[in-house]
Amino acid sequence: MTELPDHMDDIDVAVLDALRRTLALADPVPDHLVGEIEFSLSLAAMNAELALLADDAVGVRAPTAESADSVTFTSSTMTLMVVIGRDDGELRIDAWVSGGGITVELIQGAHRTPAVSDLNGRVSWSPVQPGLARFLISPLTAGGRPVITPAIEL
């Protein structure tokens, strides 16, 4: 048992404990927050470059994510064009990146689905769950920076 500071007694501790339980109900930490922080930290550790939406100098973030059938992202080293379509009623994504043999990850929340581009630079995912998604493109050269896109709404 830790000694209580400043003449606090067990009732004080019980009041603070009850307040902590109340705050967990009245103003809970958003469920996704810890996951998003860990994702940001891993991006920072990778020194990832944030791609921009072509035709839009400002990165799109989750609450204002665009709903689009086709979007293009650009970075200093690559371009990624993403086409969202339907295949037997299921969402499907086809994307083209600047080169073959490049690993592109589809990231939806904690789910990450990697795919490797073919000789034409094409990668695809099907079926895909609706919701927010972003893409992580592995470095094109050894020692290069990975590229992460802003989130888009699928």
Binding site: D17, L19, A26, V34, I37, S40, L41
Partner: protein, 195 residues
């Protein structure tokens, strides 16, 4: 997590995880984030930030920790460092939103204390609803201090209060006054019992 575990360990758990992270254990950073993020959330919210701004602010504080990890000399200070960094970032965000004099420390405004989400209200049990009713009658400054201090245990109280701007010499009296007001309100409430 039991109250006793919290009481005995947040500062220490954070320090241990921080040391392990600096020694190259990336999993330790995840443990640190999981343990301390709830505290930082309430630091940001107690500064009057909206949910979205609070999320961004807490995230920024963690990015700053990774950036400045080598500069933190005493690992046991990491909890206080994170709280202080979150608070300063919260002020910066507030200033941007309000264009107040940048040299003036903004007055803390109470967070909108009413849970608006019906599901949230429904999830609050009787104890929580009663305590919340008394809590929101405290001064904004007292709400801010207690909101953050209660997230730690006894060994963390001083560090958390200090990080919220309570001068070291007055931590006991200031925190004590706020806590005494809440305690009195609860003990005077015939429908409330300490369990």
């Amino acid at each position: 997590m039991t109250a006793r575990e919290v009481e005995e360990s947040l500062t220490t758990r954070a320090a241990v995880a921080f040391i392990e992270y600096r020694e190259g254990d990336l999993q330790a950073l995840h443990r640190l984030v999981a343990a301390v993020t709830p505290v930082l959330w309430h630091v940001a919210r107690s500064c009057g930030l909206s949910q979205q701004n609070a999320e961004d602010t807490v995230q920024t504080a963690w990015l700053k920790l990774v950036e400045h990890a080598e500069g933190i000399v005493a690992p046991e200070a990491v909890l206080g460092w994170l709280c202080t960094t979150t608070k300063r970032e919260a002020w910066r965000v507030q200033r941007l939103a309000r264009t107040v004099d940048p040299l003036e420390e903004p007055e803390t405004e109470p967070v909108d204390e009413t849970p608006h989400d019906p599901a949230q209200l429904a999830a609050m049990n009787d104890e929580a609803r009663r305590l919340w009713g008394h809590f929101v009658t405290l001064s904004p400054r007292c709400q801010q201090i207690l909101r953050v201090v209660c997230m730690g245990g006894a060994p963390d109280y001083a560090a958390l209060a200090e990080a919220m701007g309570v001068p070291i010499g007055s931590i006991g009296p200031t925190r004590g006054r706020c806590l005494a007001a809440l305690r009195r309100a609860l003990l005077d409430d015939p429908h409330w019992s300490l369990t």
